[in-house]
Symmetry: D2
Subunit: 357 residues, 4 copies
C-alpha cells in the first residue's frame, strides 16, 4: 500500500531523491505495443529541471534505462521496468532537514510515520524527483492511448493571479494540444504566458515561490470508460493526480464553479452530430456517473507554491524540542507548475489506460 497505482495496469514508482536510482515498473501493459524511447525522452525533457531561469539549477540527465519488458521496441507482455540513475546529488545540502522539518514539506510527517528511518536527503521518496518515473510511465501510456485515438494534453491555466485562457471544452482539438506540448512555456495565450513568467520571476526575486493551476484535457476517449461509484473516471484520475506532490485540489468540468450554478445553466444538452451523441456545452467535463461521455475529459489541478523558499521561516528543532528559525538551502524551483504540466498528463494517461484495459 503506497507507491503503487492501478488495477489492470499496475505501476509502482520507486526511489528517493538521492538513492542510487529511481524508477517505475509497469505491470499489465498489453503486448505488441511500440514504445518509442526517443519520444519518451522528449516527454521527460518537458519536466526536466535546469532548462531556464524559472527552474532549479539542479540538472539531471534523466536518462531512462529500460531493464525489461521491451523486445525490439515492442512490449512483450512482461512488466516493463525502467530506471533513472541519480547523478548530480549534493547530499550535504540537506543535513539540516532531519531535525528542522521544512514547512509545507513531508519532512515532519515522514519523521513520525517512519519513526525517523525515512530518507531525508532531498525529501527522499517525497521528492518531486519521483515524478520523473511517473512521467516515463505516462509517456508509455500516452503512446498506447494515441494508437487508440486518444490525445492527452495540458497547459498552465494560472500562475499566482495570472490566467491563461481555458481549453475550449467542446471543440479542443488534438493538433492544438500537440502544439502546446512543444512550447517551452505551455500556455494557449503567449501574452498571458509572459505575465505568468514575470509572476514567477517576481517570486524568485523575492526569495519566494508561487503556485498555479494546470488544466488537462483528454480527447478521443470513447464513451463508456469508467466504472460506477468508486472507480469512475474522476475517482481514478484524482487518485493518480494526487500522486504528484504539491497538488491540493482537482476539479472536473465546471468544477467548483458548478457549485454556484443553476441546473438549467450547468446541464449540458444532448444533441445528435450526425450519428454521434454530443453535448452542446461541456460543464460535465466528459464524465457522467463516473463514465466517459465521449466529450473531452477536462480537469484542473491546483498546485501549491513550492514549499522550499530561501526566506527565513519558522519551524521546530526536533532534537532540541524547541522552536527554531529555518533558512532552506539547496536548489529549488520558484514555481513547480511549468514542469508539472507533463506530470499531470502522465497521471491522467496512466489512470485512463488502466480503466481501458
Amino acid at each position: 500500500m503506497s507507491s503503487s497505482f492501478g488495477i489492470n495496469l499496475k505501476i509502482t514508482v520507486f526511489g528517493q531523491s538521492h538513492s542510487q536510482a529511481i524508477g517505475v515498473v509497469l505491470d499489465g501493459l498489453p503486448a505488441g505495443e511500440a514504445v518509442d524511447l526517443e519520444e519518451t525522452a522528449r516527454f521527460l525533457r518537458r519536466r526536466a529541471p535546469g532548462r531556464n531561469e524559472i527552474s532549479t539549477p539542479r540538472r539531471e540527465a534523466d536518462e531512462v534505462k529500460v531493464l525489461s519488458g521491451l523486445v525490439n521496441g515492442l512490449t512483450c507482455g512482461a512488466p516493463l521496468a525502467a530506471v533513472i540513475e541519480n547523478t548530480n546529488v549534493r547530499s550535504g545540502d540537506y543535513a539540516q532537514i532531519k531535525t528542522h522539518p521544512r514547512p509545507s514539506h513531508a519532512d515532519y510527517t515522514a519523521e513520525v510515520k517512519y519513526h525517523g528511518f525515512q530518507d531525508v536527503r532531498g525529501g527522499g521518496h517525497f521528492s518531486g524527483r519521483l515524478t520523473a518515473p511517473l512521467c516515463f510511465a505516462g509517456a508509455v501510456c500516452l503512446q498506447i492511448l494515441a494508437r487508440r485515438g486518444i490525445t492527452v494534453g495540458a497547459h498552465i491555466f494560472s500562475i499566482g493571479r495570472e490566467k491563461d485562457r481555458p481549453f475550449d471544452p467542446v471543440s479542443a482539438d488534438a493538433a492544438a494540444l500537440g502544439r502546446i506540448a512543444q512550447k517551452p512555456f505551455p500556455v494557449l495565450d503567449d501574452a498571458a504566458g509572459e505575465r505568468m513568467r514575470e509572476e514567477i520571476l517576481a517570486a524568485k526575486r523575492d526569495l519566494d515561490s508561487v503556485g498555479g493551476v494546470i488544466e488537462c484535457c483528454a480527447l478521443g476517449v470513447p464513451p463508456g470508460i469508467g466504472d460506477p461509484i468508486f472507480d469512475g473516471l474522476e475517482n481514478r484520475i484524482a487518485a493518480a493526480v494526487f500522486g504528484i506532490p504539491a497538488v491540493r485540489g482537482i476539479e472536473f468540468g465546471a468544477g467548483f464553479a458548478a457549485a454556484a450554478m443553476r441546473g438549467s445553466e450547468h446541464n449540458d444538452p444532448f444533441y445528435y452530430d450526425g450519428d454521434r451523441v454530443k453535448t452542446a456545452t461541456n460543464h460535465h467535463g466528459g464524465a457522467l456517473g463516473g463514465i466517459s461521455s465521449g466529450m473531452p475529459v477536462l480537469f484542473r489541478a491546483a498546485f501549491k507554491p513550492t514549499p522550499s523558499i530561501a526566506r527565513e521561516q519558522r519551524t521546530v528543532d526536533l532534537a532540541a524540542h524547541a522552536d527554531a528559525p529555518l533558512s532552506v538551502r539547496g536548489r529549488h524551483d520558484p514555481c513547480i507548475v511549468p514542469r508539472a504540466v507533463p506530470c499531470v498528463e502522465a497521471a491522467a494517461a496512466v489512470a485512463l489506460l488502466d480503466l481501458m484495459l
Copy 2:
C-alpha cells in the same frame, strides 16, 4: 472493479434506486467494536429525503437491517452486511429515461457502457439513493473512529453564491462539530444558512436547482496516517468522495486558493505546543506528503446543481435518433447539498478508517 472501495477495510455498495433493496458489505472491520444502530439510524436521518420543503417528497423509511457481522451489538470480525429495502417506488415516473437521457445524468453513459441493459428506473445504480448504504458504512466507521479520538464533521460551505463562514482550520473543536451535526440545516452561521435556504427555494420556484460546496473536517487524526504517492490521505479521501454522485471537485486545505499564494504565505510554520508539534496556520489541510500532520484534516467538495429539473431541456431521442425536448418528471431535490453533508462525512470516515487499519 467499480462499487467497491478500500484496502484493509473493503466496502461494497450494491443496489439500484428501484431494486428490491440496496445495501453495503463492510469486510475487514476490527472485531469487538460496538455498533449503536440507533446512532447509525440518526446519522442516516440526516440524509433522508422528505424532511422539508427543500428536499424531494420521496419518503423512504431507510430502515437498515443488519444481516451479519454483529453479535450482541459488537462486530465479530466477519463482514458486516446491511440492507435497506426499497419502498415507496414509483417506477412509472421513469419510463422515458431509456430513450431520452437526462442531461447531466448518467443515463446516456450507462446506456453506452452497459449496452442498454442498465437499470434505468430512478437512475439505477447511479441514483443518489446509493448514498444511503454509504452513509450506513460511514456511520459505523465514525463510531469506531470516535473511540480512537477522531471526530469527523461537515457543514454546508456554500449554496449558489451564498457562503457560510469556514471551519477554523487550526482550532475547530469536536463539540462544535457535534452541534452542527444536530442542526437540520448544518451551517456555522445561521443567518448565512437562511440566505442559503432562500437560494434553494428560489431555484425551486424557478423549477430549477442549485449547487453548493461542503466543507469537511476530521479532528484528532494522529500524525503518520496515509501512505506516500498514490495512497495518501488526499488520494484516498478523493477516491471515496468522488463516489458521491454530483461531486465535481475536491480541495484540501487552502486548495485552489493555494495556487494564487506565495510560498511565504502558504507555508505553515511549525511550533511546539507543549510536547506536540503543531502548525500556526493550516493551509496544508492536515496532510503533508499524503500523511497526516496531526492538524485538522480539512477538505471541501463541490457539488453540481441537481440535474433533474422540471424545466424543459434539450436532449436526444435514442430510439428515433433525433434531438428532442425533455421535461423531467419525478420527485427531486432542488439542491442535493444539505442531504449530502453526512455523505461527505461518511466517505471521509471510510477512507480514514481504511488507512488506519
Copy 3:
C-alpha cells in the same frame, strides 16, 4: 482483506452460520447476462444438507433472494447481491464451543484472532454454511461461462481409500460432465460410488467421519487465459478453492504424481488436430506457465474428514485453563465431500470468469 475474492469480478461472501442471513455480492459482472434463478436453485440443491442418510439432518430451504443487479432476469452492470435467510437455527447446540474449541475447527484460532468477539454459534463465519453463497456466485458464473463455451464439472474422486476412476484428462466431454452433475452421488463409476457410500456410512456408524478428494475439470477454456507468476490459473484457482473449509491440498494435472515422474514421461507432446494445437496427454492439467493451453483444465482438491464427530475427543477448557474432554453435539455430515462437489465447481468458475473479464 478476507472474505473477498477477485480482481475484475469481485465477490464478497458474508454471514455466519446463525446470523440473520448469509449472502454474496458479485461486483463486476458483465451487463446483459441472463441469470436463470431456477438453474441456480438446482445448483444449490446439490450442496443442500438433509437430503439423505449421509448428510447432516439440518435442513435449510436455502432460498436465494436476489436484492439487486438483475433486471428482468438479466444482469444490469450493477453489483448482484443475493441473500439466504438462516432458518432452522438451533443455537443452543453450540454453547460449549466458546470455552471448549473443537479440534480441527477454527474455534480456537478465531478466538485468538478476534479476541473472543467472534460469532461462535455454529462455527460463525467459518461454517461450511458459507459455501452456499459461494455456490450461488459460482452458479451465476457457470451460466455466463457456458455461453462462452466453457463447462465446469466435478466428481468425487475418492472417499477414504475408495476411489472413482479419474476424468479422461484428454477427451472428457461436456455431456458427460452434465450427466454427473445430475447424479445424487456424483461419481463416474457407480460401483465405486457404492463402496464410497458404504465408507461414509461405516464412519457414521463409528460416530466418526471420513475425508476425500474431488476432481474438477473445466472444458472449453480458450488458450491464453491466466497471467504470469502470481495470477496464473493455478494461483487464482487455488486461492478460490482454499476458500472452501476443509480443503487441505490442491494439485493440477499430474500434480503430486508429477514429482515422481521423469520429464520424458510427464512432458505432453504437442500435435495438430486440424487447425488446433493440442497435447497428446494432459499431465499439465491445461495450464502452462499459469496460462491455459486449450486442453481441459484439471485439478483435484483434498478434503479433510469432517472435524465434528460424536466420539469423545480431547481439547482444552479456555475458561478453566485446563485440558478437558469434549463430545461434539449438533448435526454434522459424516463426510463433507459429496456436498462439496458443487462448491469446488463454483470456486473454479469464479476464478475462471474473473481471469477472463
Copy 4:
C-alpha cells in the same frame, strides 16, 4: 494483473531470462528494518545455478544491486527496488523456440496470450530465472520475520521415488532448520539425500529429468495470522508458491493423506503446555480456518520434472502448421528441486509477512 503479489506488502517481479536485468520492487516494508545484503547474497547462492553436476552449467553472478529503499542498511519506508543484471546470456540457443514450443513449457501458451510478442529467449518472463528476484524479496522478508521470532525452512522431501524423512510436525526446531539451510543438498537424512542425488544423476545420464517435492515449515508464527475464506494462510501461501514455475500442487499438514483419514485420526487434540494452547499432533499444518494456530505451519509443494530435456520430443512447428520433432538444446537442470528449496522458503516468507503487516 500478473507479476505482482501482496496486499500490504506488494512485490512486483520483473524481467526476462535474457532482458538487460531482472528484479523486484517491495512496496510496503516497515521502516527501520535492517537488511543484511551479505545474508541475502548467501540466501541467493542457495538457488544459484552452476554449483555442481546436478545443476545447469549456466553461471550467473546473481549480484543484487539495491537501487532504493535502504539507507545505511535500514529500510526507509520507501519501496525497496533491487536488480540483477543478466550476464552470461547465450540467446542463440533459443532461436527455435518461437516456432517449436517446448512441451510442458509456457512457449505455446505465451505465444497465444501475447500474440507472438512475448520474449522467447530463454523462456522470457516464464523462466525459472525469475525466481532469483523472488528469492531476494523472500530473503529480505525472512530477515524481518526472524526478528519477530519466525523461522522458515524447507528441505527436499522427495526426488522421483526417493524420500527424505519428514519434518517433525510438532517439534521441529529453528536450529535444525538452520542446519539444513547450510547443506549443499538440503535433506534431513543424508543417506536419503545420496539416493536422491543418484536419482538425479540417473535422469541426467538418460538425457532426462526428474521431479520432486519440497516440504516447508514456518516456526514461531503466532496464533491469529491469516484472514477468513479467501485470505487464509493456505490461500495466500498457495498463491505465492504457485508463482514458482513447475509447481503442480500444494498441500498443508496431512494434505492429500487427510482425505484417506477418519476424523478421529486426523483431528489434533488441543492441550495446555503451561500457558500455551498446543495440539498433540499437527495434521492441520498450523492453520485452522485459514488462521495460524501457533503450531508449525507445514506444507509441501510438488514440482514437475524439468521440461527441458535433451531427448528428442514431439511438438508442432507453428510456422509450418505441422507436427515436428524437437531436441531442446541449451543448459538445463536435470532436476529443479534442489535449487527450488530457497524459492519455496521465499514465497512462504513473502506471503507470511504480507499477512502480518
